[in-house]
Symmetry: C2
Subunit: 241 residues, 2 copies
């Protein structure tokens, strides 16, 4: 796994700048990953998603320093815009879903209170840690933007968000509904609605269909929520990717 | 989540047969799921993947009984044949990958010793538990068939297995190799090669390409092994599914 650290909130971003990392990042570098002076490292958290190649120049326990070398080129083509509307499962499954959505390339994710949603969402602090870990793992430049953390959205509100993008409902074939998703038409972005554990109710599916969503089959078997997020986002990748 | 139990190894499978479940299944029904007499239940583990609708008729702690009602129809169309060649990550990630491959519809999975594989595989007993839990969760009729558990396959051997099926290498776009997978051509089955954590080496990718595999892009960011299994299998679903 590549070595990735985050810039502190206030920083100078330019080649040859020497940056002192904050305590958590210094600890991660020195203790968790046992980096050494001279190691190559990728620095995330720059303005507008800029990432840098860098080198470790000092390793004090709570104040490691890295030297920025050069900005890393953005991915080509840029990642497509993907909004996940997540029917809230229980808190551990929400965290797994956030991690999955991050890796699988979602841009934004909104927590939606559905009929079968259970319990409360995870705390903002846990969410921030999970999103940072996902960025370290997968290398994405910008964190997944999460909405509805304090107050989950209603399904009605969720279905109106980015209504100009094609909408898809993650669906296990076993439930017996047809799939008619047009996956290869050009679109500025796409929306993926994933039900909580236990699934969307028939009424909720009807609401989504009335809002123009199409069923997107994810195969013959029922998926857990985090698995459905990954499978749905993978199916929304253009065929020619 | 639906209530699903497994038939004991010796059983009579016919409508109106009353089946005594084994100790683990009885415990699961009575204690874990707190089922009641009269509850509907799905019975898995029949010959050749037959599943039954059934009803709970007695709930003793180590000997619950269910009445088979009618065989459940097989999924239409039948799930496609999918072989996952899993470059072995560490044991926890192997278990997560088996669970993910089960839900996402893989037929078989072979553990493959790659250059960056770490440690030993999980024990057969843990694998059996994970596969059973995945069946309970997703409802698939037949367990994922796992090969290479005692002795992981070499990559050379893995690439020769079902060589008549199109082969795809799970690949994160960030690594800079082209994708040219023909995903919509009819095929009797498909093979998906997923690297361990840290990825396949260039030499291993070359070996796969020489064996006729194509790169299959899973989006712009690096995925953990279990995530790549789900994303890869979802991308291999026919467009019209």
């Amino acid at each position: 796994m590549s070595l990735r650290v985050f810039l502190p909130p206030s920083r100078t971003e330019e080649a040859q700048a020497e940056i002192t990392l904050d305590g958590d990042e210094s600890h991660y570098l020195a203790k968790v990953r046992r980096a050494r002076v001279g190691d190559s490292v990728e620095v995330l958290g720059g303005a507008a998603g800029q990432a840098w190649s860098a080198r470790v120049v000092a390793l004090e326990r709570r104040a490691a320093r890295v030297l920025l070398l050069a900005p890393l080129p953005p991915p080509q083509p840029p990642p497509p815009l993907r909004l996940v509307l997540l029917g809230m499962p229980d808190a551990p499954a929400v965290l797994d879903s956030l991690s999955a959505a991050s890796e699988a390339g979602a841009t934004r994710l909104a927590l939606v209170r559905c009929a079968r949603s259970q319990g409360r969402g995870p705390s903002p602090a846990r969410v921030a840690r999970v999103l940072r870990a996902a960025q370290r793992q997968c290398g994405r430049r910008l964190a997944l933007v999460v909405e509805g953390l304090e107050q989950p959205w209603t399904l009605e509100r969720a279905l109106e968000h980015h209504a100009e993008w094609p909408g898809h409902v993650a669906w296990a074939r076993g439930r017996g509904r047809p799939s008619a998703a047009d996956l290869d038409a050009p679109a500025p972005g796409r929306r993926l609605l994933v039900g909580p554990e236990g699934g969307l109710t028939d009424g909720e599916v009807t609401l989504a269909m009335d809002a123009g969503f199409q069923m997107l089959s994810l195969g013959p078997w029922v998926l857990r929520t985090p698995t459905a997020v990954v499978a749905g986002l993978a199916r929304l990748l253009p065929r020619s990717t």
